[in-house]
Symmetry: C2
Subunit: 201 residues, 2 copies
């Protein structure tokens, strides 16, 4: 049984990750989108298990103590993380898993799960990223500048990612993500079982 690929996708706010990921999930039959767990309060309109797995703080901390997260972080007193067990189970069944997480979390996954394939979704340019943030018309100028300065900090980690997909047109970026998954499945280190079973005496 060939294991699935763990695809870790990061990218700055405003780059259009969500659209690209939606298209990848729609195009690929067997791809599991890993939902994060969190201890924060559920907001109106949110659905448990779809937007987040909402957990009690004591449960989260107990699971964290048992190394139950592939990555986790605390923001403003709330915890967020990726439950390890569910991801590993899917991979063992040969199902590819997509993890959409920010740079800090991706670095944790990279350290604890080196088979993960890290992809950074990048904007065509800084100017274009600013334009997309402005076009959303949901953030103040101050928030936009803050997001841009965070983005620039994230770009400094880009060399820790295996691949860069420039999101110029979302359709193309989605195709590129699929090509990365297909190509990673052909990597020699993921096929040594096949070699041993079929080619060696």
């Amino acid at each position: 049984m060939k294991k699935g690929i763990l695809l870790v996708v990061s990218g700055p706010s405003g780059v259009g990750k969500g659209t690209v990921i939606k298209q990848v999930l729609a195009a690929r039959e067997h791809m599991y989108y890993s939902v994060s767990a969190t201890t924060r309060e559920m907001r109106e309109g949110e659905v448990d298990g779809r937007d987040y797995d909402f957990m009690k703080k004591e449960d989260f901390l107990a699971m964290k103590a048992e190394n139950g997260f592939l990555e986790n972080a605390e923001f403003c007193g709330n915890y967020y993380g990726t439950p390890r067990k569910r991801v590993i189970e899917k991979l063992e069944k040969g199902i590819d898993v997509l993890l959409e997480i920010e740079v800090q979390g991706a670095m944790q996954v990279r350290a604890s799960f080196p088979e993960a394939v890290l992809v950074f979704i990048a904007p065509p340019s800084l100017a274009e990223l600013r334009r997309r943030l402005v076009d959303r018309k949901t953030e103040t100028a101050e928030v936009i500048e803050k997001r841009l300065s965070t983005a620039i900090k994230e770009f400094a980690c880009i060399d820790k990612y295996a691949y860069i997909v420039v999101n110029d047109i979302a359709e193309n970026a989605a195709v590129h993500l699929s090509q990365i998954i297909e190509s990673e499945k052909l990597r020699t280190e993921r096929n040594m079982e096949y070699v041993k079973e079929n080619l060696l005496l």
Copy 2:
């Protein structure tokens, strides 16, 4: 200017490399097939520059002394090699180059040109490789056994290749080779110039 990809393709005799490579070259507009140089005599029906670049032994050895080959080898008193300059020129122009060479040569390229992408075309099984060799009806049983024992020796080097493409159906194998090329173009280390020019301040 983004450099082209140097794709090094190896695989045992009988696996059907030629068919797969032909389909890749037909499907991809800008892919240069690197023709080997040799000092052996031209055979009837061969065309200089198409089948091989036929060279005088003294010219070959002078070029070899100047590190003019990406890889080279001697068989039965004849020299064979891949002229370095022409390959590098194509890559610098952004043209992908396909090199079809045996395992020893691929190991030389790997050592002297680490950016090269090594792909091993493998048969679905040893039994299927034997079947294909038998079906050719061109070799004696003795030659077939010799080719199989060479193949098994080659399989021992397979972990030095980045990718394994199983040639079950040639069309699929050709698509896989193209996916590898596309995906390799997205590798972070091949895109640091883009990052520096567009994302960093």
